[in-house]
């Protein structure tokens, strides 16, 4: 794009050569071209260096590792190339599909949907509040957001601690469960329900704030027009609000999806997360494979698969975003 822009611009100074000679104008032209090429790269260089060091290099290493059988050795490990063996072994494994993939996908979908729904509802609420209450509610929400994942998880684990936690006691007094014989951390659905609560609680403030930022840009007149046309609140939300800030939802959706697919801390810190196969998700699985089982190849392979899944999802999102953009035009 840039080149096509600069190319027609280049002949412009060639009006002058009549006076200053052909060679000089060529020199100036060349210099200009050189600057046009090098300047953006010079400006980009620092960030490219940082990105390459922090992202590209590890990415290449993980890719390399996933094709190797790696052994830790004093003074530098030894990797033996094994082709796609790690991937083959991983994908033909029952537990990988039954537990790891299933948990990751269902958990991520549940978290993304709930985070966005809750975040949007809170944003709508904040949008209707006056300055004082918006400030108070906003700060309360920020507190949930600011809490480190480790601390948050500790609190949720404490709330749901079998027999002694607040939640089992409450459920027991309502006659729903027998707290003495229920340990939610040993059952898959409750385990992930607790994790979902934790992640949604930690993630919805971001959605709420971002959506709120979108909401305040929607002109009031649109709603007034809608009301005159007799649209109820439900219709106004779907026909005015959603189309008006669709890109915001897209961004929030992409980011939430990426985050919720690779949740690690909130799962790993729960009791029994590393000793019960049915609780593994792709994050904990790849960590345990690499660092507990010393199987760096398989750990890396599952990390690569996670990256690919996220890449595909992001591509689909972005495509739909652009398509809608074109349609709107």
């Amino acid at each position: 794009m840039e080149e096509t822009l600069t190319a027609p611009a280049a002949p412009a100074p060639s009006k002058e050569p009549a006076r200053s000679g052909r060679t000089e104008s060529e020199k100036a032209l060349r210099k200009k071209r050189r600057v046009a090429i090098t300047r953006p790269w010079t400006l980009l260089a620092p960030s490219l260096v940082v990105l390459a060091g922090l992202l590209l290099w590890p990415l290449i290493q993980v890719g390399k590792l996933s094709l190797q059988s790696y052994e830790v050795k004093f003074g530098g490990g030894v990797g033996t190339w094994t082709g796609f063996d790690n991937y083959r072994a991983l994908l033909s494994q029952d537990e990988f599909w039954k537990y790891v993939v299933a948990n990751t996908v269902f958990f991520a979908v549940a978290c993304v949907v709930l985070t966005i729904v809750l975040g949007t509802l809170v944003a709508l609420l904040l949008n209707r509040l006056g300055t004082v209450w918006r400030l108070i509610c906003g700060s309360a929400i920020m507190a949930a957001w600011a809490m480190p994942a480790v601390t948050g998880t500790q609190v949720w684990v404490w709330i749901f601690a079998p027999e002694d936690g607040i939640a089992p006691k409450l459920a027991g007094s309502l006659g729903l469960i027998d707290p003495a014989t229920t340990n939610w951390f040993t059952e898959r659905l409750p385990f992930y329900a607790i994790a979902t609560l934790n992640v949604v609680h930690h993630g919805f403030p971001f959605v709420a704030i971002t959506v709120l930022a979108g909401l305040v840009t929607i002109p009031k007149e649109l709603y007034e027009a809608g009301m005159i046309d007799g649209a109820n609140a439900w219709q106004r939300f779907w026909k005015i609000t959603v189309p008006a800030i669709r890109p915001v939802f897209m961004v929030v959706g992409i980011l939430s999806t990426i985050w919720d697919f690779k949740v690690f801390t909130q799962i790993f810190m729960m009791p029994g997360a590393d000793s019960q196969e049915e609780m593994l998700n792709i994050g904990t699985y790849s960590y345990l494979k690499a660092f507990a089982a010393d199987d760096y190849g398989t750990g890396a392979a599952s990390a690569v698969i996670l990256t690919l899944i996220l890449l595909i999802i992001t591509l689909v999102y972005i495509r739909t975003l652009f398509k809608q953009g074109e349609e709107d035009l």
Binding site: V49, G75, E163, T182, N183, G272, A293
Partner: protein
């Protein structure tokens, strides 16, 4: 053109980064070991064993500097992340490993296999230390006849119980499995608000004595190869007894399925546990946390099925020297720390046992009722986990914990769970060979 530039930048970047790892060739190579002037030893010590390790190391390092002229820099490591940190340093080679480090006994085979640890068998003999080392502990750090470091301190688990509760209900410390079960059932009846005997699903070392106490093994070595034995009839019987305490006799609550040892300790300090497996370091730690328990605790060795002692895991730490640039100086430091005055001092401050027989005996001779049963367990009934580099991996992947939890959850029968664990162990053994 653009692509070429991107490519060039990427290549330059990667080469630059790759080069970073290998600059800084060794300084301080060779030299007279005992003349350590101008040298600094890097020492890694685990955090938490000694409530306040700093005064100890200040004294030790001063003594070492006086002796050799070398300075010492102690860096404290966390148990939870240390293994990863060691692995990274080992990958980095001589420039990155510490000169001396505290290494958990179960890590020794794994680290030794990479070639990072120094074989000190000859040095130990030369120093006349080999005959006094606690056998089980010496064994834990010896592979193919090579000893990788000096045993520094060790601990063992026995039974810790509430003396006051036992006296109130006229109960005695159990000496057989039947007595253990009867006592637990009696406690459950007499003290419904307390956990009689927690079957903590997340505590691997609570399980092992019940395998060993019935003559079973976790794994056996045959002709230099390890093979799992966790699904042998003896082991399964022991596991069944242990898990039935929770499943049939209900002397342990369902919440204990996901408990770790730290959770048991937390419940104990709340006064809600009557009897448990506990380490020799626990009584003092419990009393420090809950002073009202002072005088109310007692200990007893873990009984075997029909009497005698069940073996219990003899765990501890080695001080090992790494293949860094100051090997000889490092060995001097290890010797100073693991023998004589400093070894005793460390044991006293940490409530652990020193790694020498004479040291353990000296502690047993003090006739402290909270020390003596543990000393007996250590000398007569200490056992180590299989000494294969694969066992570190088996522990890290929670094979035993997984097995016990799936039994407690009712997902599998004891035999099924043990068979699965055996399969996983064998896979790990096979991989490491």
């Amino acid at each position: 053109m653009r692509k070429i530039v991107i490519g060039a930048v990427a290549v330059a970047m990667t080469m630059g980064l790759a080069a970073c790892g290998s600059d800084d060739d060794g300084k301080d190579k060779g030299g007279d070991a005992l003349d350590g002037k101008g040298k600094t030893l890097k020492v890694w010590i685990m955090e938490g064993t000694n409530p306040d390790a700093k005064p100890f190391f200040k004294e030790l390092n001063a003594a070492f500097e006086k002796k050799t002229g070398a300075k010492v820099k102690v860096e404290y490591q966390q148990w939870a992340t240390a293994q990863k940190k060691f692995t990274t340093a080992i990958e980095g080679g001589a420039d990155q490993v510490p000169d001396v480090a505290e290494v958990g006994t179960t890590w020794v085979p794994q680290f030794a296999k990479t070639g990072a640890l120094v074989d000190v068998t000859g040095d130990v003999k030369k120093a006349g230390l080999d005959s006094d080392l606690v056998e089980g502990l010496k064994d834990a750090g010896t592979l193919d006849g090579k000893q990788y470091g000096m045993p520094w301190y060790a601990g063992v688990r026995s039974i810790v119980y509430r003396k006051d509760i036992f006296e109130k209900h006229h109960l005695k410390a159990p000496t057989t499995w039947k007595e253990l079960r009867d006592t637990a059932i009696a406690l459950k009846k007499a003290e419904p608000g307390m956990t009689a005997f927690p079957v903590a699903g997340g505590a691997e070392m609570f399980t092992a004595p019940f395998v060993w106490g019935n003559g079973g093994q976790l794994a056996v070595e045959e002709g230099g190869k390890w093979k799992s034995a966790i699904n042998s009839p003896e082991a399964v019987e022991g596991l069944k007894f242990y898990t039935d305490l929770a499943l049939k006799d209900k002397v342990s609550p369902v919440k204990a399925t996901t408990w770790l040892e730290t959770d048991v300790a937390a419940e104990f300090t709340k006064g809600k546990v009557a009897m448990t497996i506990g380490g020799n370091w626990t009584p003092k730690a419990l009393m420090a946390e809950a002073p009202e328990l002072e005088g109310k605790l007692a200990a007893a060795p873990i009984p075997g099925k029909d009497g005698g002692l069940a073996k219990s895991f003899l765990g501890g730490s080695y001080l090992s020297t790494f293949n860094g640039h100051n090997k000889e100086l490092a060995w001097e430091y290890v010797k100073l720390a693991t023998t004589g005055e400093f070894a005793t001092k460390w044991a006293e401050q940490t409530n652990y046992f020193p790694g020498t027989n004479s040291g353990v005996q000296a502690m047993a001779d003090k006739k402290d009722p909270l020390v003596e049963p543990f000393a007996k367990q250590m000398i007569e009934g200490g056992a180590t986990v299989p000494k294969s580099p694969a066992y570190g991996e088996i522990q890290a992947t929670k094979v035993i914990v997984k097995m016990v939890q799936s039994i407690l959850k009712g997902d599998m029968s004891v035999q099924e769970a043990a068979d699965k664990a055996a399969e996983e162990m064998d896979a790990a053994f096979a991989k490491s060979e």
